[in-house]
Symmetry: C2
Subunit: 306 residues, 2 copies
């Protein structure tokens, strides 16, 4: 089986949505991505958590077949994010971000994980993303995510990372901001000109767009009326995407497209409840059914000249 | 050939976008819709214009095979809209709307047009939309559009119109506002519960969503990096949609889906230049090619359980 490595945050989230408030629930980009990926492969996480991180969470990750040997447990506090969503849940509002142990995090990839085939660099300081890349032996496919903070503060380093990876994931607002145009296809084109091999623009409720030189794919979102907590949707998308790619070990255009829909399916489940609650209940059968729904609500026949 | 009737505004627009400013160019909801429909059928327009409306515009409409017998030319001034688009061209900003002859417009459908099969009620006072409906003999399919102004000021009349038509077209912001939820699938569901037989939510750069009881279709938008003037996109969509439906005289689910893509194709051309400039150059071959592109960038294969 192809080896999958996910580097990102392990966190405790405090989240308020119109559906309730939850304190110190399991979260973090690497956690959401790895859990989504674990439906397809046995991914490894590299990250750090404090001694305050409940051991039951680590046990849960292992129960999903996730390799936790790259998670360091250090004296100190776990990364914490606190935020809320208003009536329009498309926009996360941050109340507080405490980097805690991530303030001094130096990602060391254990020897046994350096030959990973498929790698997801979740949102992290681009300098650290470069450090991870330097430790990899022969990855087949590396995807990266980022956020507005790094776009503002480390634009040049971000350029370096983008040139070294196979896929850049960004949400639409970040892509517009980074490439200084409101036009998404133009922003994607500029990212490709900057040296990105391929780009996925995540648009939340509006789906996701894939761009590479000479190819474009438009994925819809699931018509979700059970949205309870959008936190982790982007990371579930990325985790499902890379997990599916790795499971099939196929980087063809058609495999990428299926992987994008798989990512959309995983994200659509993740938002149905707080934290990983929905993912904990999720069955393979439900995934296949929802993938089928994506096909049914996107298919149309061709037309001829008249 | 199925008879198509389009009721809406005939106007002169003054538009400023980052690509330039144009004064008193031909526009209006009925005009944009009829020109898009004219690639498929010979639609008739019902509306009013003033003696200041250049006769060359009427000649152009007739050269497209559009039946202008329902356009009244009256003493007075033509409807005028003036607006601008900023850097982010997704949002139109109105500078001035002068109803002029539309302030007292009473849509009388000429006898020869009352037996129209396919009807598009473009954005108009819902009381007038009801008056049009009362004059129709045996329409097979009626679609309506509206805007935030009527949602605010004539909610109850709007409810009556919605119950009488086959399809409600609305943009996403209007649907959220009208149904008082930020969630688009939920808004569509509430419109169906209100008595709409089917709903299309137009999302501009994010495509369009179709909802009916038991069916959903998600159409992408064309990855347009040549956007110069978005004015009329929604009406071109509606015109292409109803023109294609009427041409095939087929209301099956598959025909509706193809019609939605045809509408998206027509809108994607319309925004490439000001007013009808792009539509005046448009060839059937280009339409078929772009429809093919929509298929290519949305197709994906199924997955099985693993």
């Amino acid at each position: 089986m192809a080896k999958v490595l996910i580097v990102g945050t392990i966190g405790l989230d405090t989240i308020e949505t119109p559906f309730g408030k939850k304190t110190d629930i399991i979260g973090g980009s690497a956690v959401h991505a790895a859990v989504a990926a674990s439906f397809y492969v046995q991914p490894a996480i590299v990250g750090v958590a404090g001694t305050d991180f409940p051991s039951e969470h680590l046990e849960f990750l292992r129960s999903r077949g996730i390799d936790t040997s790259g998670i360091k447990i250090l004296p100190g506090e776990t990364f914490r994010w606190s935020g809320y969503y208003e009536y329009d849940m498309n926009q996360a509002h941050t109340r507080d971000t405490r980097l805690n142990l991530y303030a001094t995090f130096n990602p060391e990839i254990p020897e046994a994980l350096r030959d990973a085939d498929y790698v997801f660099l979740a949102n992290l300081d681009p300098d650290l993303q470069l450090k991870v890349l330097a430790q990899l032996k022969k990855p087949k496919f590396v995807a990266m995510d980022t956020m507005d903070f790094w776009i503002k503060n480390k634009r040049d380093v971000l350029h370096q990372v983008i040139k070294k990876v196979d896929l850049v994931l960004m949400n639409d607002g970040e892509a517009r901001q980074f490439m200084e145009t409101p036009n998404i296809p133009l922003a994607a084109d500029r990212l490709l000109k900057l040296g990105a091999k391929s780009v996925i623009i995540k648009k939340g409720e509006h789906g996701a767009l894939f761009f590479s030189n000479g190819s474009h794919f438009s994925a819809p979102s699931y018509p979700q009326d059970q949205l309870r907590d959008p936190t982790g949707a982007g990371d579930s998308f990325a985790g499902g995407f890379i997990g599916y790619l790795a499971k099939n070990d196929d980087l063809s255009e058609q495999a990428m497209r299926r992987a994008i829909i798989v990512g959309s399916v995983m994200a659509s489940f993740n938002v149905e409840d707080f934290s990983l609650n929905r993912m904990k209940q999720l069955k393979q059968k439900e995934i296949v059914e929802r993938f089928g729904a994506f096909r049914r609500f996107t298919e149309f026949e061709t037309i001829a000249a008249w």
